[in-house]
Point group: none
Chain length 263, copies 2
């Protein structure tokens, strides 16, 4: 008895239904009618799906779900391989003045304010180690004015950043002190500002980080629950690794997403 290597449409359905809950028989047939599939047939007309057909179907469903591609486009991509860029012949006669700054490799913002406590020599560049999680929170502390100066940003902007919760100072005595991370954030923000980005746009990073952090926390929760110090150290280590993994994943996903924007 020859291993029947193909499946009926109903079998395909139940195979894929977990992965794609909204697939139906009629949808599969519809996809064929649109030329996206072309399964063999038995003499009596039943569709025979082999592995490649199933892969193809899976891919189609995925493009629909993940990339929202219209069937027409999916079909083109299945046939014509990589995109055949449709050329557009258009002039661009009007050089529109854009507000966006088109930043050059801008010169580093000059560090005004010499009067800065340059204590705290640092090193913290654990490459993809994900930034020392365990380093004391306050290797350095700066007043608001010092922070502004070190970041090369006007005081007002610092206030903005604080308003959106991107940096947080601790009130100490009569002024507020900021730690190293605040400085890091301020400088990074300065980088963004050169592109015309505003503080409020950066809030997404905070929200995202909070979610990511609480996700990580769930993961290491079992360790944290044991109160013993070894487990605790282990938890910190794990968090560092998770952070690094997350960094890598974010990078890969970001590259992928940017690539699809036809650059």
């Amino acid at each position: 008895m020859a291993e029947r290597a193909h499946m009926s449409i109903g079998e395909v359905l139940s195979l894929l239904q977990q992965e794609f809950p909204d697939v139906t028989i009629s949808k599969i047939r519809f996809l064929e009618s649109q030329g996206l599939l072309d399964p063999e047939r038995t003499p009596s007309g039943y569709r025979k799906f082999y592995e490649p057909d199933i892969e193809r179907l899976r891919w189609i469903l995925m493009q629909q779900r993940e990339n929202f591609l219209p069937l027409r486009v999916i079909k083109d991509r299945l046939e014509g391989g990589p995109d055949a860029e449709p050329l557009d012949l258009e002039g661009d006669p009007s050089a529109v003045a854009s507000t966006a700054p088109a930043p050059e490799p801008a010169p580093e913002p000059e560090p005004k304010a010499e009067a800065r406590p340059s204590r705290a020599d640092r090193k913290s560049q654990a490459p993809s180690g994900g930034g020392a999680l365990d380093s004391g929170p306050t290797a350095i502390s700066l007043t608001r004015v010092e922070l502004a100066a070190s970041a090369g940003l006007p005081d007002k902007i610092i206030t903005e950043l604080e308003r959106y919760g991107l940096i947080t100072g601790r009130p100490m005595g009569r002024d507020t002190l900021y730690d190293e991370d605040a400085l890091v954030v301020a400088r990074l923000a300065a980088g963004f500002f050169r592109y015309g980005v505003e503080a409020r746009h950066l809030r997404m990073y905070k929200v995202a980080a909070e979610r990511e952090a609480s996700f990580f926390e769930q993961v290491v929760l079992p360790l944290v629950k044991q109160r013993n110090p070894a487990a605790r150290r282990q938890a910190v280590d794990n968090l560092a690794e998770l952070a690094a993994l997350g960094e890598g994943l974010r990078g890969a996903m970001l590259r992928n997403a940017l690539r699809s924007y036809s650059l």
Copy 2:
């Protein structure tokens, strides 16, 4: 008459019509009705479009034309949408990921004001897949089985990852081929799995990256608009820098968020 900085809907129309021949007044109004735009109004109710509104509109039209995104999705990406996905015990997905080497963090104690490094030259070394946005069409391609083997994961898991859109292959001939990023992602995912994380939990990275990418794309849009190659290269460079800044910011925010979990 004080330099009117805004345009009427009709002026916007004629501005964009070359670039997007099928834009119409009613379409613009429709986009507003769907919440994708929200121009100011004059006291008498006329819409006032400023430069950012126009950029936003342009971006929307581009996403429609180039990436076929539904308006709902465009809207979500513009504003950090509700990417639902009920969680069972994990934090709700949607985080931007990346712990960063914090580019240039140090409060440099010296006077050497030099141009900043602009972009790290990391090659993809470990699973921590670093940067190259402009690296050509992926140098490697693996079959599904090879991918599984290289990542040290069962084939089934690859399917899972694919199911959540974390990796994507292209069907070629009888099997599907995967690029280098797929391998990177698979390895990183393997790292997560060791902590008991499941594929579906990683979806948040994808969603977040898409949002971040579309944010970056808007920032760089003025450059992309000019069709000339120098501007294009500049755009790619800028994207790389933005990605690096984002990485740093994600790292800083993540550290901060984790610290608050009293570790």
